[in-house]
Subunit: 188 residues, 2 copies
Amino acid sequence: MAQLSEGFESVRLSAAHADTWSEDMQDQAETALVALRRVLKATASNVKSVATKTGLTASQLLVLQVLRTQGETLTGDLARAVDLKQATISILIDKLQEQQLVVRRRGETDRRRVWVRLTEKGLTALDGAPDLLQDTFRTRFAQLAEWEQASITAALLRVVSLLNAEKIEASPILDVAGVNDPPLGNGQ
Amino acid sequence: MAQLSEGFESVRLSAAHADTWSEDMQDQAETALVALRRVLKATASNVKSVATKTGLTASQLLVLQVLRTQGETLTGDLARAVDLKQATISILIDKLQEQQLVVRRRGETDRRRVWVRLTEKGLTALDGAPDLLQDTFRTRFAQLAEWEQASITAALLRVVSLLNAEKIEASPILDVAGVNDPPLGNGQ
DNA sequence: TAAATTTTTTTTGACTATCTATATAAGTGC
DNA sequence: GCACTTATATAGATAGTCAAAAAAAATTTA
């Protein structure tokens, strides 16, 4: 999939202009955008490398990660969580099921619904796919002075608020849990 | 494509845990990762919306943006810049050329090489694809106090250095220009 | 209860992006 | 000229995605 996830290509090469622009008010914004751009690049290439390393595609990996975080999940909620259509998820789950990384289970009270959950094999596959980027980030972040951690966190949150404007506010991955039926356990 | 370009899915829902974890050293890192995650989500969905808005795919848009930034570029350098194989770029350029958004031109001293550049139509297509995310970012960033701009920029640069570790350091988009032949003008 | 409607998932068919491997063409060194 | 390398293009295969339709079950309405 690999959708590329770039969004800041049109940033001017502020580094090249730095000497002439140094005092320009806009310079700061451009520098920030270039930095953002690099963050994006780093994460995108990280996703790619983890994906090829595990033999999974990025979407598949994404779905597995959501399942690990949320436990058993409805296919529809999965689709929302990773921003794909249900048709796509359905096929994607087929593939994952063929590899026995997940299992489907029909809902009992409502037999239209289909719950998906990780298998042991799926869990180990995920463990075998350490997210290097995330790990290095955590490791290095932990080594910073506390005030710097705080300042970076604050800045990132600020950036989120700058970006979010009208858009987004969906961010379903972080708040899908507990939508309808008991998501964990064997209930419903 | 959709390649989704996420990289931080496995982040725990630190918001949900915040009350119990508040003093935990790791909490800060998790919060930072969640924030990063949201930045990624925002930019990814932005790319998608801009792409569908213009009828171009994300990769195509990306290539056009690189061309706008760098001027005439070799197909191989394009491939490196957007992290696709040459074969893929070749086909991608075919499509863009069909729509008359770019033109190919054979190198004159080295006739193996193929230069690609934006047409007028390509340029207007790009102008018609305003990057809302980037614009809102710039606008809102500009409204911040100067000290805050500085602190955000510094934090972002710090994040880049945290992420970059061994990896990356390629970041070709920002330094491909002027590799071999005169990239601009009609030289060689 | 029967019929119509809605919800949830799957299937189907088409299209596109991407990759690997191979081919073509042009340059370089001997 | 010959082997080798470099730059791009083509071919074939795989996979991801979507829209539309089908299927199955629940809900509403009459």
